[in-house]
């Protein structure tokens, strides 16, 4: 845990989430990046339990979350309401927002600047 923010990637598909992590790890090797992809049975969908467990498993107190489609957001919202962690859900383009954020976290850019920079990637809500 060398940065104060962790990143959680929530996708309907396990491979999308874990593949995206692979992409981000290349540019943000010191950022903790975790995934909650698919349902617990490995189907397409999202799992509140998986999201919650993954959130709790961060050493970091602050977690920035990215998601693919709106129904993932609802599970994320619920998990956020039930955790002690300081969670922020970003409504950016999933891959592009997560990529930019991870790059900037790696470079120790402050959160406010990151948010400003990714504000042009907000396409949801």
């Amino acid at each position: 845990m060398s940065k104060s923010f962790g990143v959680l990637l929530v996708s309907h598909v396990e491979r999308v989430a874990s593949g995206l992590k692979q992409l981000l790890d290349q540019v943000a090797s010191d950022v903790t990046i975790k995934t909650a992809g698919g349902t617990e049975d490995g189907d397409v969908g999202t799992s509140f339990d998986l999201i919650s467990e993954t959130l709790e498993s961060f050493e970091e107190d602050n977690v920035l979350c990215f998601y693919d489609l709106g129904s993932a957001k609802m599970n994320l919202d619920m998990a956020t309401e039930m955790t002690e962690k300081n969670v922020e859900i970003l409504n950016t383009a999933f891959i592009e927002g997560a990529y930019t954020t991870a790059s900037l976290l790696q470079a120790d850019v402050p959160l406010d600047n990151i948010k400003e920079q990714i504000s042009k990637l907000v396409i949801k809500e």
Binding site: T39, S71, N75, M78
Partner: protein, 195 residues
């Protein structure tokens, strides 16, 4: 019959309808979504039934909370957190009231809080809202449910997956509205709404 038992009875009706109509719900969802609404809810109600068999309940709050959490955990689609939030919201409300229209009204609040949909956006809210209104007036019956359900056909979806289709979402029943219709029918059948 105690309210708790009536609610359990009602959930049994709901489970059966969902499970029997799984393919139909999937079909509705195929037209304007990803085709899993029936499968999602069938998985959810099966898990609830398992839970209810293991447990006995002497108050509505515990019952609703368990139903809600199991649905949230097991459904896997948008309808999981939505129905889940309805029950969790009802669990809170039932600590201060067991009035059926107050309960379902807070269930609706839970859905709206979670999904941010208003009426007219072609979602389950378009069945829940008129049904709750009718409950308040004491006029909830099958025809209220049917016409609420049918009203979703001409709507353009602006929330949920169907919203990606824009105008092409028009002309279809919303799958979540259909499952919600089953939900309110089950309440009527189990007599939950009789005071």
């Amino acid at each position: 019959m105690a309210q708790t038992e009536k609610w359990i009875k009602s959930f049994e009706h709901f489970s059966k309808k969902i499970t029997d109509e799984k393919s139909f719900l999937n079909e509705l969802d195929s037209a304007i979504g990803d085709g899993d609404h029936g499968s999602n809810l069938t998985r959810g109600v099966a898990a609830v039934n398992e839970k209810l068999e293991q447990q006995s309940y002497d108050n509505l709050s515990d019952l609703f909370k368990d139903i809600g959490m199991v649905l949230v955990s097991k459904v896997g689609g948008a309808s999981g957190p939505l129905y889940g939030s309805a029950f969790i919201s009802m669990a809170k409300k039932s600590k201060e009231s067991d009035d059926i229209s107050s309960l379902l009204s807070s269930g609706l609040d839970g859905i709206i809080k979670r999904g941010k949909a208003e009426t007219g956006e072609k979602t389950m809210v378009d069945v829940w809202a008129p049904a709750v209104d009718a409950l308040k007036d004491g006029t909830l019956d099958q025809s209220v449910i049917d016409s609420a359900l049918e009203s979703t056909i001409d709507m353009k979806a602006t929330k949920g997956r169907a919203s990606y289709l824009g105008d092409r979402s028009i002309g279809h029943i919303d799958p979540g509205a259909q499952s919600s219709a089953y939900f309110f029918e089950s309440l009527l059948e189990a007599g939950v709404t009789d005071e």
